[in-house]
Symmetry: D2
Subunit: 340 residues, 4 copies
């Protein structure tokens, strides 16, 4: 049974697997202080066109989020996020466990609004309330949408005006930057964002997220934070090796573009079959409202995820593709769907 449940079902791209064999018995210094990590950092700086940013490699996304936020904020400071933000819903309170409140701001399609930020900063007006100090956004969002360059510029301007840090969770950054409606480049990120992550886990790596720190104020002693929160991999070269592979020859964007193409093909097929979308996505996650009996039939051959109950007879379901999704599988699925 083929699974569209998520984008981390499979392993890594061939180049990573080859290099892993090659480097496996070489000796390397620990904790990311090795040559492969250095090369990977340089390569990413080059792609980002930002030679001054700091780059750290961490194992997972929740770990990256909690380490960045715990490092940046003083105890009474809060991070603002959309209601659907990963840190708000799906990290088992990791941010609160580090002592910080997640303040929900107005959002649409998973995207934080500038008005929402102003409103929350205005509401939190004295020392009886937390002090919002960081804005957390995800690109692509948890609903499959992406930020336009004008939106990032507006967020930057807002954060500058209000003295806030802007943090982008890039767990699905590859899919964001290759979406049909995207106009943001790698180089733009360092212009508008203070700190962001580049997701490997969901885009071609076995595991790993790169944290890119652009703002000088956030750079100090970040390695202490990684170590304290349990995120410093002893064999750190494993992460360097993967990110180096992902950023050579534009692999990172190429494989993400494939994932998007597969998901979009699926989405189009659903629409063609007359089903409506729960959210319009341009990336590798799609959200479709389906009659419950259709779901039952699809589940005989495919795995995919419950998203939300819509009414007594309809449910929104999520389908996710990845760098590894074969087009043949998509075609078979569409054939099967049309038969129903």
């Amino acid at each position: 049974m083929y699974s569209f449940c998520n984008d981390y079902s499979e392993g890594a791209i061939p180049m990573i697997m080859e290099r892993l064999q090659e480097f496996n018995k070489k000796q390397n210094p620990g904790y990311g202080m090795d040559e492969i990590c250095d090369k990977a950092r340089e390569k990413i700086q080059e792609v980002l066109q930002c030679p001054t940013c700091d780059i750290h490699f961490l194992v997972g996304g929740t770990q990256a989020n909690l380490t960045v936020i715990a490092s940046a904020l003083r105890p009474y400071e809060a991070v603002m996020a959309a209601d659907s933000g990963h840190i708000n819903v799906h990290e088992t309170g990791a941010i609160e466990a580090s002592g910080h409140k997640v303040v929900i701001v107005d959002s649409a399609d998973g995207k934080v609004s500038v008005e929402g930020i102003y409103e929350e900063v205005r509401r939190h007006c004295d020392e009886h309330m937390v002090k919002p100090k960081m804005v957390y956004i995800s690109d692509a969002t948890e609903l499959g949408s992406v930020y336009r360059k004008a939106e990032l510029q507006a967020l930057r301007k807002t954060c500058d005006a209000l003295g806030l840090y802007l943090f982008m969770d890039g767990a699905r950054l590859g899919c964001a930057l290759t979406a049909s409606d995207n106009d943001v480049s790698f180089a733009d990120l360092c212009k508008y964002i203070d700190v962001f992550s580049i997701g490997g886990t969901k885009n071609g790596a076995l595991f790993g997220e790169a944290v890119v720190i652009v703002n000088e104020q956030l750079k100090k002693d970040f390695r202490y934070m990684i170590k304290q929160r349990g995120g410093m991999l002893a064999k750190g070269w494993l992460l360097g090796l993967q990110f180096l592979s992902l950023f050579e020859d534009d692999q990172y964007r190429k494989i993400a573009a494939h994932a998007n193409a597969m998901a979009q093909k699926l989405q189009t097929a659903f629409v063609d079959c007359g089903y409506s979308l729960f959210a319009k996505s341009s990336t590798n996650q799609i959200f479709v409202i389906l009659p419950n009996e259709v779901i039952k039939k699809l589940e005989k051959e495919y795995a995919f995820q419950f998203w939300e109950k819509v009414d007594a007879t309809h449910t929104a379901m999520r389908f996710v593709t990845s760098w590894a999704t074969p087009e043949a599988v998509i075609d078979e699925f569409i054939t099967y769907l049309k038969q129903i």
Copy 2:
């Protein structure tokens, strides 16, 4: 230049690398809920002769330690450890960051003493002081020594008498269980210890630690804790695959025995050359007191680690071997050493 700096310089044993290629493109459920993880858990339960223990796979050692301790203790409860304990010295305050004090107990050769435990429990007598609730030991210890079965029994008895949990950090468990002076078996662990880890990172895996929870009281909702602390690997099957490989055909002990043998050969050579030991080790880490000029000469060809200044002209240095250390390298080193 060959490095004896640590036991995590190289990658994984061949079986792991093969299986990685094999499983790379298969689809697997996320977060350790897959078949390979199930098999690995069953295999380890079998080796431990303990079908009722819970087994969880985490990425690293600090993460395993902080998650176990944060899960087991109420906010005012403390963990006791030797002064040299990894959680006390080398985890950047990860335990304190989870809110708990590390109370230092009397120890010798890195091993916690029963008297020390009694003394600290007696001293912490009311609500103005933390309440010691857990004993943390490492086997092998940070100084290369191992616990004898009688010592574990005495610790168990002490913990039962005082209402304490006994937690063993098994980052180097393989080397402990195959040391020449060891009389502890895998099956003994579940008899005497409430919760322990089985280190993969330092013994043949790319990364990974298995946490084994024997005590029923410590089992509840441990997966919530893993997720919250950022330790739940999306592609959890990577960990299952590695631990399954390590525990088949007694690989875990076989490769550790090799690491021990290499270190012991080194240690003997140092003693034969007339150098004294800083600590007498029976495992894969050895600690030798060397004249500073000897160190300088050795450093031309080999890397190894500063441990402690002994006097104006002597320094204690640490040499570590691993599953991957070739005997030929050891022989060359000894030849070189004898020439000095």
Copy 3:
């Protein structure tokens, strides 16, 4: 200028001030282990008709809330509260600083709904999300409303069904239990609630909140938690003395009834003058929607608090009375109001 800004502007009732003089130079054991505290605990147990509950005295409300919640919950467990709940809005993230998420549940008039609890427990279904474990309610609520006995019974039933603790913040409990629409007695509290506080600060004391723990599971080592969080008063007898005075001769309810009567007289006057209420209160806080020019005139003679902007020309304002509010002041205010 008279202030209706809050209910903690003045000091303590005469009996407390007298006893303070009397006890000032006597020697007493520290930390609440003295005879006056013992007597106060017994007196409260008697009033509550619950001889088995534990009673602790803390200095302030935020401290009481954070200590109770940090003591009751494991790290990944969350507390549910109304959006307007004090712990959610006005404690500078004290709960999150202790590591726990505050999950917002559906509410009306500041009161948590049973459906809201069920909905949130249903939504938080696996280890990627926090686990709701406690329901926080305030009586009187932050909007001046009170819980009916049937509502408490329904909450109790819900908490039993879902395995949740029910925690009542009684910062304004006196006003709640003496509201015109109240049918809850002191004795009912121990029947339906697991742990609650009895506010002194806002009802006749210089400072102090009594925490009453009914549920056996929540009693263990609570004094350790108080001490760790900085809430254990050295001269604890100051708190015992105050609570003993408040609970003798039913003082606690008598003075709260006065505060309510004063506020209700104000509310009636506003309604009589044709102004509408932002929320209908039966306790000592009232919320009135006033034209901005009326506010300006009132502010010349009286202080009161901004609550919320309603429209371009109207604002909701809060007026609070206390045990010390003289009826003459209320009468003068009403005369002044009618002139406007």
Copy 4:
């Protein structure tokens, strides 16, 4: 039975009790934003000869310590203290509960040594260990000793050289500044210390500690920290009133001098009777080694505290005096002692 158990057995000096009656029914703004607090702050600034320091009033000592430390340090930073330091022993892990390790430094007579600080900073050399960032000292120390001006200067120089904050816990500051061997003035404190507390609880107040922040870097948003940690007293004027009274007419030092004189008289009597001192104190706590049968006889008439077992027949006991200890009681005690 008269108690020498501690210095917080009695209440407050007469001036405080009088003013309390006077202010009790006046209305005051909450949370320390009132006129009495303003006056108290000005008065203390004047006495300290430091018009630019920030002054905050908190209820208790543990609360003051944890709030200052949690506010000053980033998550991986640690505070250094003597083994006997209050934060290390008697605050139930409050500092660790705020996430920070207490690193023990070499000390003598309860006083932190400069060499000890250098040694610990040297040992904590990379991101695998916490980063010492603050030095915590108590004056008077927990063993009754006081810092000389030259010692404070040396600590200041050390902290400047190493980039550390110097924090003084002044729970018994009055007794320190009036000890016979003291040469430190109020004005010196702001010259050498970054942040310190002035204890009220143990020197004439009902309760209360003033936190004085001299270093600009530590001032920002301290009120947020106070509120978050539960230390912001609603009726903050109670604290202002007490500190204003304590600092008028040099009361604070006068009453402390009395406490010292009483303790010193006791200490001299013990020495005259041939008993040896466990620690030589110049302040209001004294530590005497007594034969166990003498202790039994003294305990028939007086209460005092066990400190440490010395040998099979001798025990070190602590006797504490306060501003309220009558000289007649001391004289009676000495008569009784001599009879034994």
